[in-house]
Point group: C2
Chain length 432, copies 2
């Protein structure tokens, strides 16, 4: 068979893989506002956050200036078991759409966590271990972040306690089983292991829990560990976006190998971690004068960028976190039922919010039914069953490609396929 100039799958070699993350804040003229204390409204410094997060992560969180941050050798070693992820040319999707556009996607779902979350789980577990901690805590709703962190903790030799929203742990026993296979201690939240959990159980007997409550329990468990534990979070924060920049750096390097530069880069956006990751190097290019459209895609049901306000708000429903300046629908906002669990967040990463405020990125909100239509088209043409979250990015790529068909432009479209939908089939059934 004649080999096409651009293969279906482009893999970097280990030597070509990035060995540094890129800190997008270093390129921004105006930096995102720092987190503030809800009472004093004062910016939070290193010492304020030290009981919650591990030291290196806080340094990364607060560092707006260092452009490139070394990926530790131990993390690179771990990355090499599931990275590089392939940059895929969507020949079959292009043919189905009969579009002159060239569509590429960076596929981050080919690891057991099923998503890009492992990119940040690995360094967060590593830094905690390096600091001499015994354990870390986190919360999980849908379960992808909890799974990723379980995998990373198994590798780095760290105990992990995952507070899993009770209703989710009951509905998804197998998500719990994966985490336990990797050695995690999974606790249904609210639980009797924390004060806040006990209080909630007393006040609301039989409650199914919430992500806000699970966050509160995970933070309490870390803070009250006597210093042996810290809390970890899988999205929204600056250090998470730093780690996820590996997606964009690899994508850019692979595109360069193919002699390509994107006209449009697309990612779905809930907390902003995969979108922030894939656009990172392209934001710098854009600030350097390059023309490239950077498009965040959110669900019409939870449109924080396109319908929210840019203001200081809490990171959680329970209002126990610091406040962040971000696009938000209000910390009390409860989105209508929607299966893209990873996109059901009331706010948006402060970095992404600031980029949107400064008109460096675009955003659209798309309805669930349309998203699933594109998800099914993608599955049938490109073989991969996408996560409902990632399908938002697919749908936007389809819209852009259809537009190219109208205008006759052969644009180069790149999107992040952040995960697979193997645990989301209830959503496919509902939207059949």
């Amino acid at each position: 068979m004649k080999t096409r100039t651009v293969p279906n799958r482009t893999y970097l070699t280990e030597k070509e893989m990035p060995e540094k993350w890129f800190n997008v804040r270093s390129a921004m003229k105006v930096k995102p506002e720092p987190m503030i204390h809800p009472g004093t409204k004062q910016p939070l410094g290193f010492k304020d956050i030290q009981p919650i997060f591990c030291d290196e992560v806080i340094r990364q969180e607060l560092d707006n200036d260092t452009p490139y941050v070394d990926i530790p050798d131990e993390v690179l070693r771990y990355y090499r078991m599931f990275r590089p992820s392939p940059l895929c040319r969507a020949y079959e999707l292009e043919a189905a759409l009969d579009t002159p556009a060239k569509i590429y996607y960076k596929f981050e779902g080919n690891n057991t966590s099923g998503s890009h979350k492992l990119n940040s789980a690995a360094p967060q577990a590593y830094y905690a271990k390096k600091q001499g901690l015994k354990s870390i805590t986190t919360e999980t709703g849908a379960g992808q972040w909890g799974t990723a962190l379980s995998m990373a903790c198994a590798h780095f030799g760290l105990d992990l306690t995952v507070f899993m929203v009770k209703v989710s742990s009951e509905q998804k026993p197998y998500r719990k089983a994966v985490m336990e296979t990797y050695g995690a201690n999974v606790i249904a939240s609210p639980s009797a292991t924390t004060d806040i959990g006990k209080k909630l159980l007393a006040d609301f007997p039989g409650t199914g829990g919430s992500l806000g409550c699970a966050i509160s329990e995970a933070i309490e468990a870390a803070v009250k560990s006597g210093g042996s534990s810290r809390y970890t979070l899988g999205s929204v924060l600056n250090h998470v976006l730093l780690h996820q920049s590996v997606i964009g750096l690899e994508s850019k390097a692979a595109l360069e190998k193919l002699g390509e530069y994107p006209d449009i880069v697309i990612g779905c956006a809930g907390g902003g971690s995969n979108f922030g990751g894939i656009i990172a190097p392209f934001v710098k290019d854009k600030l350097d004068g390059k023309k490239v459209k950077l498009l965040a895609v959110e669900p019409a049901n939870c449109p924080s960028l396109t319908k929210g306000k840019f203001e200081f708000d809490f990171g959680d429903t329970g209002k126990i976190t610091p406040m962040m300046k971000m696009y938000t629908l209000g910390s009390e906002f409860i989105p209508p039922p929607d299966h893209a669990g990873g996109l059901r967040y009331h706010g948006m990463s402060p970095i992404i919010s600031k980029l949107y405020e400064d008109k460096l990125i675009d955003a659209i909100a798309v309805p669930e039914q349309d998203v699933f239509k594109s998800a099914r088209l993608f599955a049938k043409t490109e073989t991969i069953l996408p996560a409902p979250e990632s399908a938002h990015a697919i749908h936007a790529a389809v819209l852009e490609a259809q537009n190219c068909k109208k205008t006759g432009e052969a644009k180069t479209i790149v999107f992040c396929l952040s995960g697979t939908g193997y645990f989301d089939l209830a959503a496919y059934v509902k939207n059949a």
Copy 2:
């Protein structure tokens, strides 16, 4: 970070990918016996099987001589969406075992079907389409083969009817949902759509069905289609092993790039499709005088090679298929409950059986509890959650590596990681 000489993941380029399958029978001095008619005991020819299978597949099934068979361009094009699969160096598993052995695994699970089954589903769908057929039929138990065939039929534009064992379709609604997402018509078996199904429903109201019954229904539906449909099978038969040779050919090419040749090649063996695939080119080498151990691993609960008899037997419990000369526990053998569904077959591929009879391959049977111990070790060290079937191969590799530790030999061990365990978590919970 210093890059190791052997990377964690070795991917062939598209140009390096095999463009022909290898027919292992061409290298065998004594060929496997042909299928025979249960009544007449006469070998079955092309015309006898034509109502059941599509023409090209029958030609491949009966051809013992052609060494290399062109992979059609259309199939190569499809393969390139999920192949090459990576050849992985198990550095972390080696370290955990403190072994001088070098362990490699060929990872076939990184596609939405979750296993190597897609390698044969693609050509089977393609040949059916090329012949002008409207549809194909098949049966599925655990669901991996049905999923793979659904994916391939969506691509090649073919209707697919999957008879899914009723109890399995009720216990695994999401497996059904994946197949339906790809457009398959999934029917719980026994069903009222076939005569044999109607009879079974009348005789055994409320039955949960069986694989034997689902096979019968799928064959009946194909045979009674008036020529517009054919039946397909995902293991055991010669043409399936031919298609799966792509696993071994890619493995050998990747090992050559690394300057390696295996001392031991390992695969789990149920019907024999992934094992037959990975050993294909190495059987030829062995017949040409090369020293290499080829090891089939079966569950202690279903030990067809190690405890079965080499004789003519039916392929199914219902005794409606032709008879094949194979190692068999008897077509009425029902293995005790065991979660490695893909290995619960009473017989073994005639090719694999003949190779075992001729002492060209070795076989061991291993107990379920030990297999899950190795599965968990592998998941924690190498990040990938293995299918219980594939974990049999992992366990044998662990045993060989432990033996190397005792003897001090730095053997090169290669095994096929045929699939992932994302849909098998009940088994992990049971064997925790």
